[in-house]
Symmetry: C2
Subunit: 600 residues, 2 copies
């Protein structure tokens, strides 16, 4: 199975043909590197993922974590994988060299993480959560606190979690009830219960650093009274040595459809005297700190979904190429040999659909990562702020498209295999189960739709939206001279026109009646997402067309022809339904809004 | 959980308002019954399903069957459920009174089976497979063979299976390799391996009667050389007593994504001297016998999918009504109480979508069952043959729409619950897993699409298709005077026009190039399915509108208003994409057809 781990050529295409990742070497932060360093890092990621993560992906699912009332038990391969990831330097790779990091660009590291997601999304979750928690500590914790915890989170001695959700509040963070009481010595005592905390308990590391959202006693209600605390599982002495157990207890493990080797926990803080917690940054600003990390977390979820989609695609393709069954419609001779199922047109349709979703999603996530990178390190202030505007606008689609269409790609993978796809003897059903979480965590489509329509579209006077339109228009102009791509550009041009019109009319609707105007925002999100991914497919098609014109041969030519065909599929098939959906939006359809509870 | 078992009012609506099930009492076969008998049978089904099936639905999934090399172990509740089903007479209910049956109409029994599917689809599979196998024995076996096996299959001593699929052949039945050698005494010795045989081994019954497709030595190749054999697990003496073990061995259990309490087996026939098999009916006609049962099996799969969709809907609704989270968009006061999530417009959209899929699917399956009933027992030959034509035409959609949209309804159910939906602490994730099998068994969409376009549409000079068009046109005329339904009828009228045009053009395409013309048949199947279900929703809307006009009040009025709103949803949202998809079909889009293996 390890030989079916993403596709190096595809990642290379995204990094160096779609994105100009080599140009990053011109930026001062990366001047010490060269392309060889990027490629070597990618190879290391692939090797570690293939050797330490992929082999127990199925086992970690079949033998999920257990809690004996005292300890959590994971299959031992999980610890070996954790160590290999840390030893290869990936926990710290994006940090500056002076902090012990490799000072590598965001987008290169994202491409590295793709291998881990593809190999074993639930084992690698411990590592990625730790990276996220460490980013919060690094960015917002006071120097003393940072010194005490960060080095151990970068070298793999400590792991981390993000403890936001509570049983009674779900996605509505403003209703967080966990409280923090000042202890008088600058620390706090934290009381409350958190739920769905991934990696919330295990014995992979000496300690677990929980980044906890809580409300300081007397704080304002709602989102403006939430603070961020660092609450370790075990206390850490000033010299860095481990102290006693903090008052954080595992109340229980949740049992999930997929992602099974990641513990999902209910954690109790302060069942005794209160859990010792350290305020991170300023009081009442917890949610804004968390939000600064959220875009990256959302790209991470989306990339995970993309990689599971990709794995579903290549495993289905592998099966379809090997499995003989039936004959072509034109052949009525029962004595003739069976054909491989990849030769059946409907199987090709399914594989092409998977390819369009998986590669489109992957491209979207890496593009978004490049924007995050540009927002930090692009040479000019204008480039940095434009990238930041654009990524803010696009995040709802970046999160939602790969999550939604990724599950579809996994679903189609089962269908390609038929009965075999439904059995646990093949990996498809696990990808399907694992992938089903992605449309939920880091914001459902319902939440992102409202965020898009109610906030992002009009943000800063619509600056991000205008940037996006300008970029798509520029591509349309750029490809207009390419006879191969012109028909694709025509389809995308129509789709963009539909999007522009719908957007304008929905903004009017929101102004006229905010509640009704937002009612169909999820559909709008989906429409926008397909136009966005359509744009990326047009760009991929243009590159492919150019490479073929330039004389690409053999497997390279096949690679580019596949890109072109997937782009055609996306334009002809996926954009075909936009107009009808836009009609629903434009008429301000109120059928769902008008439905009443008692009529169900 | 047993209180959330379908909805009696919904079944009543389908049987007595959508369908005129009471009119069946005029037919000689049912003259002895009255409506009270139908209702009592439905109540019995509900009670047995709730008491013996629903309580172990989760347990049968969590503790799936195991094979110790000698015996298959099932949780003991499975046997109690088997017995309760048999004791209530459901194994024989559709048979004539003189054969020990209840002589009940197909459509009433289908409605009864809905309760079992909803309660525990994998435990009841043993019973339904037995009913299918018994139907084959009854219809095609010679009297002596029938006498020896049928009574025990009707009273629950023996169970049955359908053994079609083999490891090397999958859906291509013409490639069956299992062979039958004449033993010289009128019996045969069967050799070969069968795979994905549901209920292929267990100890619920004294014996298992396998209905096996095999090829008599020297038979023609392909589908015309396949015969049907009865191969019991244990031989049965002429006096009905059990003899020794037959040469049928369990090679292994398959481990599935869902439907876990149904054993899925690999069976080896004839590892020693050959399994004793009895030819059923005439040699080489096995596939035609099987096909005569297949429509009913397909309606069964579709009904199972519909019921899982319905369960996903009502569990999501129940959660949405209880779960407080967040506030309405208009309310910025963080101190105000949270609302139940059913009040969020996007949650209502999801629930309405589930309702539209689940009730539309249920309606479709019961309508198809009523056609099967009419084909057998309608008063005139014309009515019987029309019903038979229509059911033949519609079966591809009857199988495919509930399977495809049922999984979507289960998927949406997870989304309504959010993180909770993803955990095994709630039943949604199991419905999702169970339901995922339904788009595969009894024919994938790929197979049904080709069957529809290549065979069914033109069958008997297009008689079935013309009947369908006439029926929809008649409904459009009938509702035109109803101001409430007129806008819905307008949408459906447009959709029907699209379908007619697409159908005509696709038939031209098939004539011009059969392979290319069939390439997009799956999309055509989906388009046809939505028009068909749209028609049923229009009829449901008309009934609801009439009932409201007639003064329905209270919960009855709410029920009908819900029907109207779901119909509006279906017309406005689900039919919105037809036109764009029809364009893909009408242009004879060849993107998927042209894709080559080496380009992937």
């Amino acid at each position: 199975m390890t030989d079916l781990l993403l596709n190096e050529r595809e990642l290379e295409f995204q990094l160096y043909e779609m994105l100009d990742t080599e140009a990053l070497l011109q930026r001062p932060r990366y001047a010490e590197h060269d392309r060889g360093v990027f490629d070597e890092t990618l190879r290391t990621a692939r090797t570690v993922a293939a050797e330490y993560f992929a082999p127990h992906n199925h086992k970690g699912d079949a033998e999920e974590p257990t809690f004996d009332g005292q300890r959590v038990h994971l299959i031992p391969e999980t610890k070996a994988a954790w160590d290999a990831f840390a030893d290869a330097g990936f926990l710290a790779a994006h940090h500056d060299a002076e902090d012990g990091g490799l000072q590598l660009p965001e987008v290169v590291l994202r491409a590295c993480t793709a291998y881990f997601y593809a190999a074993n999304i639930s084992t690698v979750a411990y590592s990625f959560l730790t990276i996220g928690a460490a980013n919060l500590v690094k960015s917002f914790a006071a120097p003393e606190l940072r010194e005490r915890f960060l080095p151990s989170m970068l070298d793999g001695r400590f792991s981390g979690t993000m403890a936001l959700t509570e049983p009674g509040q779900g996605s509505a963070l403003g209703d967080i009830r966990t409280t923090a009481r000042p202890a008088g010595d600058g620390t706090y005592r934290v009381f409350g219960q958190k739920m769905f905390i991934s990696g919330g308990d295990h014995e992979l590391t000496d300690n677990i650093v929980h980044m906890v959202l809580a409300r300081i006693e007397g704080a304002p209600a709602g989102v403006k009274g939430i603070s961020l605390f660092l609450v370790p599982k075990r206390l850490v002495n000033a010299d860095g040595s481990l102290g006693e157990r903090n008052d954080v207890a595992l109340a229980g493990l949740l049992h999930k459809l997929g992602y099974r080797n990641t513990t999902s926990t209910v954690l109790s803080f302060g069942e005794k005297d209160g859990a010792v917690g350290y305020l991170v940054g300023e009081a009442h600003k917890g949610l804004s700190y968390m939000f600064q990390m959220m875009n990256e977390a959302r790209i991470g979820v989306a990339l995970g979904a993309s990689c599971l989609a990709y794995q579903s695609f290549i495993h289905a393709l592998d099966y379809a190429r090997e499995r003989p069954q039936g004959r072509l419609l034109s052949n009525k001779d029962p004595l003739s040999p069976q054909v491989r199922i990849v030769q059946h047109p409907d199987v090709r349709r399914m594989l092409l659909q998977q390819k369009a979703y998986a590669e489109g999603s992957l491209s979207l996530c890496l593009y978004a990562s490049s924007l995050v990178e540009d927002a930090h390190s692009a040479p000019s202030e204008t480039e940095r702020s434009n990238a930041a505007e654009l990524v803010e606008l696009l995040i709802p689609m970046v999160k939602s498209f790969p999550s939604r269409y990724g599950v579809m790609a996994s679903d189609i993978g089962i269908q390609v295999l038929g009965g075999a796809g439904y059995t646990r003897e093949y990996p498809l059903e696990q990808y399907y189960r694992d992938n089903r979480l992605n449309p939920i965590h880091e914001g459902t489509e319902g939440i992102h739709g409202i965020d898009l329509l109610g906030r992002k579209i009009g943000q800063n006077g619509g600056a991000g939206y205008r940037l996006f339109l300008a970029k798509v228009h520029a591509t349309l102009v750029e490809v207009s001279a390419d006879a191969t791509c012109a028909p694709l550009a025509a389809r995308l041009g129509d789709a963009l026109g539909i999007l522009e019109q719908v957007t304008a009319e929905l903004q009017d609707q929101v102004r006229a009646d905010a509640a009704l105007g937002h009612a169909n925002a999820t559909l709008y999100l989906d429409v926008f997402g397909r136009v966005l991914v359509g744009w990326l497919w047009l760009r991929m098609a243009r590159i492919a067309s150019g490479a073929l014109e330039a004389g690409a041969e053999g497997s390279e030519a096949d690679f580019y022809r596949g890109k072109l065909q997937a782009a055609r599929y996306f334009m002809d098939w996926e954009l075909a339904t936009l107009e009808g959906q836009a009609r629903v939006l434009r008429e301000g359809n109120s059928v769902c809004f008008d439905m009443r509870d008692e009529w169900f």
